[in-house]
């Protein structure tokens, strides 16, 4: 029946029309559709929900979450970007900086360096505490002096030959353990994630000598605390051919989409187009520039199928980051539940 097909499309697909997007908002709340029971049912949710990991390596993760609503998927994405804590340089005590890079610029650059330290093992620093204790602070020292190389050739113009220590990299940062940190963290585990980040350049006679304090923070406070290079999601594309497409039109159709989406097969001597792998499509909407073909295709997205892509900066593996993000959302709920209990006891 056409009516129920239209209802199913309204409930389950976000349709990309030529001039606008339709059915964007979630409408499956109790009372909106007659004949559907939309009240929250945990068992029905658990039966329909699944997670599939597509690809994972040490810094990036791609996985699918199927059967969940946009509000909750977006909450996870927002938490990954802004509310999962990490350690980053917050205070820089400059003893000597005769380089050409100003103190505040240097401090800003140092803050953005990702620090390889598990933030779950540290506490937040108390407000008003200037010194910091071993449970909430990491200390690093950066001390580099540039000198002229006495053994350089007389007519050389290559700075690598003429000067010693003229480029300051993160590998020049040394960790100074506080208190019992030397026992807790083996040698070499507390360091910047990458040792080849260029911090500043020097010339003979210039020196940088400073002490850095790292604290625990969240991305909401400053973007340097964000643990992900980026975290994003997209909805699974759903491409349907409303009529069979044959011959040259089939070839033209396959060129309108990303490679691999439309497959042209030989059936009984004729070329026939078939949707092979809609997941690969990036929806360039090229199809709407072809008058004859745009009526044949319906572009849509599946409303409850989210393809997440999480790239970590190296502080924590990406699967740990997603688990921490889910725990942060649970922590928020628990906080308000405790508040409610405390209020009701009064």
């Amino acid at each position: 029946m056409a009516a129920s097909q239209a209802v199913e499309e309204m409930r389950g697909r976000v349709v990309l029309g030529e001039f606008g997007v339709r059915n964007v908002h979630t409408t499956d709340f109790p009372g909106n559709y007659s004949g559907y029971d939309d009240a929250w049912d945990q068992d029905r949710f658990e039966k329909n929900f699944r997670v599939d990991v597509v690809h994972m390596d040490e810094n990036s993760l791609e996985f699918d979450m199927v059967g969940i609503d946009a509000a909750i998927a977006n909450a996870f994405r927002r938490i990954l970007l802004a509310e999962v804590p990490t350690m980053a340089v917050e205070k820089v005590l400059v003893y000597n900086n005769t380089s050409i890079v100003q103190d505040e610029i240097l401090a800003h650059r140092l803050g953005l360096i990702p620090i390889h330290a598990d933030p779950r093992l540290f506490e937040y620093r108390n407000q008003g505490d200037e010194e910091g204790t071993e449970i909430d602070t990491l200390q690093f020292r950066l001390q580099v002096r540039c000198t002229r190389n006495p053994h350089a050739a007389k007519d050389s113009s290559d700075p690598n030959e003429l000067y010693v220590n003229h480029k300051v990299y993160t590998r020049h940062m040394t960790w100074i353990p506080l208190g019992n940190q030397a026992d807790l963290f083996p040698e070499g585990t507390i360091r910047p994630v990458h040792d080849d980040i260029l911090i500043a350049q020097l010339r003979p006679g210039q020196e940088i000598d400073l002490l850095m304090h790292c604290v625990k923070g969240i991305g909401k406070d400053h973007a340097k605390f964000s643990p992900v290079a980026t975290a994003s999601y997209r909805l699974l594309p759903d491409i349907t051919l409303l009529e069979p497409v044959e011959g040259d039109a089939a070839e033209e159709l396959s060129r309108c989409f990303s490679p691999g989406v439309i497959e042209v097969q030989e059936v009984q001597g004729k070329k026939v187009a078939r949707v092979a792998n809609p997941r690969l499509d990036t929806f360039s909407r090229e199809i709407f520039r072809h008058e004859k073909l745009k009526k044949v295709v319906r572009l849509a997205r599946v409303r409850d199928h989210y393809i997440f892509a999480v790239e970590s900066t190296g502080v924590l593996p990406p699967d740990v980051l997603v688990s921490e993000a889910i725990k942060v959302l649970m922590g928020k709920c628990r906080r308000f539940l405790d508040e409610l209990d405390a209020v009701q006891m009064d």
Binding site: F45, E46, F49, I326, C333, L337
Partner: protein, 133 residues
Amino acid sequence: MEEDQELERKISGLKTPMAEGERKTALEMVQAAGTDRHCVTFVLHEEDHTLGNSLRYMIMKNPEVEFCGYTTTHPSESKINLRIQTRGTLPAVEPFQRGLNELMSVCQHVLDKFEASIKDYKDQKASRNESTF
């Protein structure tokens, strides 16, 4: 100074004493005089669309709720107003609490499924690496 008879602010919330003697309420409830407890506006401090939208979705899925919406008062202020109106005489605190509990169980289920899926993927990768030797 005329007392406003229309709106009776009933503020209740846990006051957490801070080191400097500062008091911070995380949750407030505002109710207009003359209505019973089935229409309440909750003010959630230090929250934004992250919890607001997901909580609104869970509360709207409750058939007893006639209206549920949230708004951020001003982008410079970090708080949200979440309004719940229930059908009949059910106190509005009840769907709020139920929404929080349901959101927690959704998160718990998502976490379990996600960790199981990661474990499967790692096991599969490990067995594939072994079989190539």
